[in-house]
Symmetry: C2
Subunit: 328 residues, 2 copies
Amino acid sequence: MGNHMVIGVDLGGTHLRTALVDLSGNLLERRKTTTDIALGVTQTAQKLVDECRAQMETARELGGTVTGIGLGVAGKVDRKRGWVIFSPHLPAMRDYPLGPEVEARLRVPVWVENDANVFGIGESWVGAGRGIPNWVGLTLGTGVGGCLFLEGRLWNGDELGFAAEIGHLIVHPEGPPCACGLRGCLETHASASALMEFVRNAAIRGELTSGPLYELWKDGKLKAGGIYQCSRAGEPLAQKAFARMGWALGLALANLFTVLGIRTAIIGGGVSAGWDQFIGPLHSSLAEHSSMLVVADARIQPSALGDDAALLGAGRLALQRQGVETAR
Amino acid sequence: MGNHMVIGVDLGGTHLRTALVDLSGNLLERRKTTTDIALGVTQTAQKLVDECRAQMETARELGGTVTGIGLGVAGKVDRKRGWVIFSPHLPAMRDYPLGPEVEARLRVPVWVENDANVFGIGESWVGAGRGIPNWVGLTLGTGVGGCLFLEGRLWNGDELGFAAEIGHLIVHPEGPPCACGLRGCLETHASASALMEFVRNAAIRGELTSGPLYELWKDGKLKAGGIYQCSRAGEPLAQKAFARMGWALGLALANLFTVLGIRTAIIGGGVSAGWDQFIGPLHSSLAEHSSMLVVADARIQPSALGDDAALLGAGRLALQRQGVETAR
């Protein structure tokens, strides 16, 4: 049978990434392609199957065998059945048996999990969460994902289909409307969408009338990365957007630490690349909003694995579900 | 040695209650006396020792032996050493070795725990939490205490000296100042102090100028119980105080359920007697602030044991720490 290997998959709205992972948490091969859900669910599933087939071929060339596939998907999943219940970036994939579908085509067992959870599993295995029993994880992207590790294990609560939905913690009851229907969720302050919305609203209100940030907005090219560059360059409105993000993250983490009696957070996701622009305000806000925690004890750490966290986590998920002992 | 028995103690700012508890969670004898911390720490400790001696005598008469004492104290405790670090209602008892002191005098092992935690241990043993693996507990009194049960066990987090401090969850960042130094904590909305402060402020602002509630305030007799009676009688300001309390509880529980992926809360403490005046607003607020939870799945339950929860919980703590198997 050769060496035990698994495939970790990160399925997003615009990209599909896969990796071949061994028992020690090494990434033996990475593949990346685009997804276009507009082409339909069947074609997206087909692409996923093709990418996995290519990885299985690579495994054979390396003298190994793929024994399982772990699949991280943004949104709500039914992990027991392997179904995608609802994915904000893959709206056509509603109540879709993605796991069973891929499993039937490849004849390899498939496990489906929320993308923030596979991020956490990866960081917990070989990243910033290694050896830390209790911590919260945040992924800052288009939205804000969350995961919770308690006593070294991913916390799933009462298995209600959600847990650690930290992006939907309400940080201000009169805050901006959220895609989820509530007001003032962390996600409305600390995501790429929130940064863009903040700048857009200022431009519409006439509070931003010139300069590179204004140009980006006017040209319809406003993205989180551009706002970050403007913030670094000293543009006040961009700095305000990141300060507000740090404020909300600090308040949410203070509340989490107060309730859980813990002190560690690990922050990843694309928008966490703006670390230098929000970490100061985050620490100030954490100090301002912590009741019991000695703030010097808090540990707010960036992801150690970046984009690889979800791939490694999805791989480890497949190993764990097979009951395979992993190294490290 | 006879039957195994323990003493559960609930030490508050005005009262000292003790109970003789057996392995099945029966209360064999209750005693109650007053405390007056103004008389000094030594005298309070002496009273505690005297009450426990009386319970040990009763145990002997019943053919049993007291093998341990569990001590619930409001405030921050060092459970490993059995010290009271700080108790808001017993301010003189700062950094005081209450456990070792009582242990030395009675020659029976003593364990000290936060009062909201012993409430939870009691409810988990023979009360509303029995058989429920994951739930949050709230005690509504002068302040708001909290406890958290995960997988059937009291959650202590990273053992930082606090956990489940749900009273200090921030429900509104611009809310009223809290005794803890923050703004907008749950405690500033949902405690006896919060109810009184709300009415007092309205009276001072001239928004309450007549009627029984006004009379209570004017005569310096404003208490949570009186506000409750006025609310039941239809007094709008009193109803508003309870509606605000329910709103804050619903928001805090929605945030907790979102983060923990759970759906059960158990609410006790003296102010929970006002249940009929806050439960409606609580449910509305929970529905308004829940992102992922199907609100019909939520279970918000009153304490089943009332004042006995802390006594039974303190007793069970002593049994657990001795490694004694309990019935039920």
